[in-house]
């Protein structure tokens, strides 16, 4: 709580001071990072302790804010604190230099955003939750539209705001259902409400829609690929890494805490939607040519994986398999933490690239590993982690999730027994495609030859930015190497939600959920063996090999006029995906004629959901508002008659 206030104060201080003293912005963000670490450390220290509640006297009269810190809140606060610390550290350097001037307003919005996310996690009544939720949406909206002079960004911001509000309405209705007619909107009452399965299902569906719209669940994901590229990079990192997780938090809170029962089909539904989201996201990530858009789609993929884990948790827990539910929930939480770190790292990495080169289009980049080695190598860690490669963190959560999938035979429903292991294939496909996407992203941006001559002057990120990236990269590495430690920290949360915690059957080195005979994985030994093998190979080659190393031109296949333009463009690298998954997208392409002197190529793969679902809705909405527009005459008397008629109607109706 104190931290939220601190962030708020920092923001206000920034607002007041920065226009006068530009130098102050640096310490403000730095302090923000420090607060982040403190928040994270507090949450870490809290884990396992009984819940604490507090009542704030702010708010409407008779409607004070209730706050509560329990293990579920703590684990997400942990993500918020530690991940935001790295991002704020980066932002200290990022906003200070170059064209992104650190206006006081930006400073306020940024810290308000952080503070409101913390409030969302802490809120213990629907009222405080909604206020914080809206505050979060609004502050991030203003952050997205930082460069509001550009029409596209304004459009993206509008779309974001629209989706955020549609989701918020759904959440409001959800809380309305949850209070069950008592009129009490604190979560403590909601926990005690006894609901019929019918109403509980309605509440769950509303929550799924509302939180899904925030998280980027297909088909309510459309705002995400628009809004994330529009925002400044540290903000994209915050939104993608942390804000999406607040939606996951909300879903967990409603399903496992506020509702006293779980029904199996909720899990099946979420699992199916999650898997569809994961595949849809990664396929579209593979065909993007804008760095940040690619990462935004990849966020959708990761949210899909998290939601698939969530669905599995619900299925297990409805079936009374507490142990397995604990495993699935651990995988879910682990992936949520992981995603905050590696996606944050990748977003700030692209931020540095964007800063140094001024373009987000991958077609204009290349070869940056030579001019920006720090950024390149640190981003490599993030890219390998998100591709789910051992021994980094992405692999741990995917491994846990696959184990959970494998344990499904034993459920009481035959259908699920058969379908779920098959569904695991789509997790595997999503993971393999994620590797494809990351090879594309990293290879096109950082490797190869510069596609533009000006890239030779690209400058390395400043030391503060590097420090921020190092922090996040360290998070990725540690989460990958010490899973038992982190799972131990998650255990209280898991116990709170599912009634059981994951028993680790191995030693501290060995991750062995459920049973060491069944499956185990030890990243530290893994890494050690790889390192030993590397060292031995290196020594062996040294021993055997006596030749020199000579530099020469690359092999040109007998055609001497090789230019950097002959490398695969981003579109070119995505071509197999476009070909194989043609059914999902509409490809728009303009190709130059062979005689064109200044050839221009344009290619885009458009989300079919946009044209199939949203445009008809927009058309219907437009038509409806046109009809409503007929009522408009401009005469005040008519309006008064409308109001009067409505009043009479309502009075008759309420009789």
């Amino acid at each position: 709580m104190i931290a939220a206030t601190a962030w708020l104060l920092l923001g206000v201080a920034g607002l007041i001071l920065v226009p006068r003293l530009p130098a102050i912005s640096k310490p403000v963000f730095l302090l923000g990072a420090l607060v982040g670490v403190l928040v994270g450390a507090t949450a870490l220290g809290f884990l396992g302790a009984p819940a604490e509640t507090a009542v704030l006297v702010i708010g409407l009269p008779d409607l004070p804010f209730h706050l509560r810190l329990d293990n579920l809140t703590a684990i997400f606060t942990l993500i918020l604190g530690f991940a935001s610390a790295g991002i704020s550290l980066y932002a200290t350097g990022y906003f200070h230099s170059g064209h992104d001037r650190p206006s006081g307003l930006l400073c306020l919005e940024y810290h308000l955003f952080l503070g409101s996310m913390l409030m969302v996690l802490l809120a213990d009544d629907a009222y405080a939750f909604m206020v914080a939720w809206e505050l979060m949406a609004l502050s991030s909206y203003f952050l997205v539209t930082t460069d509001h002079a550009i029409p596209e960004i304004r459009r993206a911001g509008f779309l974001y705001l629209l989706m955020a509000h549609v989701g918020a309405v759904s959440l409001l209705l959800c809380f309305g259902v949850l209070q069950g007619g008592h009129g009490a909107y604190t979560f403590a009452y909601m926990r005690q409400a006894q609901m019929t399965p019918y109403w509980a299902s309605i509440a769950f569906l509303l929550a799924l829609f509302g939180f899904g719209a925030k998280a980027g669940l297909v088909p309510v994901h459309v705002w995400l690929p628009e809004a994330h590229p529009a925002a400044p990079s540290p903000v994209s990192a915050l939104m993608s890494g942390i804000m999406l997780k607040t939606a996951i938090y909300g879903l967990l809170r409603v399903t496992f805490d506020l509702l006293h029962l779980q029904i199996s089909w909720w899990g099946s539904l979420t699992l199916a939607l999650g898997l569809i989201t994961a595949l849809y996201g990664v396929i579209f990530a593979a065909v993007q040519s804008d760095m940040k858009r690619l990462l935004a789609w990849s966020s959708i993929e990761n949210i899909g994986i998290i939601l698939a884990g969530f669905g599995l948790t619900v299925i297990f827990s409805a079936d009374g398999k507490g142990m397995l539910a604990a495993l699935a929930l651990t995988a879910t939480l682990y992936h949520a933490v992981n995603h905050a770190f590696f996606k944050g790292l990748l977003f700030v990495g692209t931020g540095s690239v964007l800063h140094a080169t001024g373009t987000r289009q991958m077609g204009g980049l290349g070869g940056l590993i030579r001019t920006m080695p720090w950024t390149a190598w640190l981003t490599l860690i993030g890219a390998l982690a998100i591709a789910g490669l051992p021994p980094l963190n992405g692999f741990v959560s995917e491994w846990l999730l696959l184990q959970a999938f494998l344990l499904t035979p034993g459920l009481h429903q035959n259908y699920l027994n058969m379908v779920i292991p098959v569904a695991a294939a789509s997790v595997a496909l999503a993971a393999a495609l994620a590797a494809y996407v990351m090879v594309k992203f990293y290879g096109v941006v950082f490797l190869g030859q510069p596609r533009d001559p000006s890239l030779k002057d690209a400058h390395e990120a400043g030391w503060l930015q590097r420090l921020g990236m190092i922090w996040l990269a360290l998070g990725c590495i540690l989460l990958g190497l010490l899973p038992t430690q982190f799972i131990g920290w998650m255990a209280p949360t898991v116990k709170q939600l599912t009634g059981q915690s994951l028993v680790n059957d191995g030693s501290w080195l060995m991750l062995a959920p459920v049973n060491a005979e069944r499956a185990s994985y030890s990243p530290l030994i893994f890494l050690a063996v790889v390192l030993v093998a590397l060292a031995l190979t290196f020594l062996f080659v040294r021993k055997v090999y006596h030749g020199r190393v000579r530099r020469a031109d690359p092999w040109d296949c007998g055609f001497p006029e090789q230019t950097p333009r002959m490398q695969d463009s981003a579109e070119g690298f995505g071509q197999p995906i476009r070909q194989i998954f043609q059914a999902f997208m509409r490809v728009e392409r303009e190709t130059p004629t062979p005689f064109d002197r200044t050839p221009h190529y344009h290619g885009a793969s458009v989300d079919k959901i946009w044209t199939l679902l949203y445009l008809p809705i927009a058309r219907v909405a437009g038509w409806l508002s046109e009809q409503a527009g007929r009522l408009q005459h401009g005469r005040i008397q008519w309006y008064l008659i409308y109001s009067f008629a409505t009043l009479i109607f309502l009075l008759v109706f309420t009789q």
Binding site: N414, Y415, M418, V419, V422, A583
Partner: protein, 220 residues
């Protein structure tokens, strides 16, 4: 599982039947389809024979022989001739692309397996677990008929469906009475010959065996 070897072989043959059903679903050439159909008949005949041998149900030997004669030798031979005569060994263009068909196929298999579980628990035969495979074969053959536009693949799909039903009957109740089976076999034989004659007629009328042309027959 501690079942006997003949039963394991029957299980293996059931799996092969299912595999052939999938292969038929994705096979685009008519001749390949006919060959697969012959193989399916062969698998069916041998599994029937093995069931007959292991359970001592003698009438199943006749069924096996009949299957061998009709579905492995006579009909494929007739179809090969038909294909050559009518010159219809071109690629069969399916209505749906292959991947989508396969995914629907997998969904159907899951559906069939789950459908069969309660039924097979009621059945008293030792081969009851293959009932799910039989049902899956029926559904897959149906799917094949839906996705094809040409006449001959549709007939083969129909016959494959009959194969599946036959297999279901053997696995659930050790086959139907011999009289019924003979009747069905005769029906199928006559049906195939009649259809063969129809093919010639259809082609003379429409100059093609594409059943899309049948739409012209509808009353305006």
């Amino acid at each position: 599982m501690a079942t006997t070897y003949p039963l394991q072989i029957v299980n293996l043959l059931a799996a092969i039947l299912l595999l052939i059903s999938f292969a038929m679903l994705s096979q685009r050439r008519v001749v390949g389809l006919v060959t697969l159909f012959a193989w399916q008949g062969a698998a069916l005949a041998s599994s029937t024979a093995i069931i007959a041998w292991s359970t001592g149900q003698h009438h199943l030997y006749y069924s096996a022989g009949l299957t061998l004669l009709l579905k492995v030798i006579a009909m494929p031979w007739f179809f090969y001739r038909l294909v050559r005569k009518l010159d219809i060994n071109r690629d069969v263009e399916p209505m749906l692309n292959n991947t989508a068909t396969m995914l629907i196929g997998i969904a159907l298999v899951i559906f069939a397996f789950n459908l069969a579980l309660p039924i097979s628990q009621m059945a008293g035969t030792v081969t009851r677990s293959t009932l799910g495979v039989a049902m899956a074969c029926v559904l897959l053959a149906f799917l094949m008929m839906i996705t094809r536009t040409k006449a001959l693949p549709q007939v083969i799909g129909f016959l494959a469906m009959e194969n599946g039903l036959f297999f279901a009957a053997t696995s659930a109740t050790y086959g139907m009475p011999l009289v019924v089976e003979l009747g069905v076999a005769l029906d199928v034989l006559v049906g195939v010959f009649v259809l063969g004659i129809f093919f010639f007629q259809i082609r003379e009328t429409f100059d093609s065996l594409d059943l899309k042309h049948m739409e012209k027959l509808r009353e305006k």
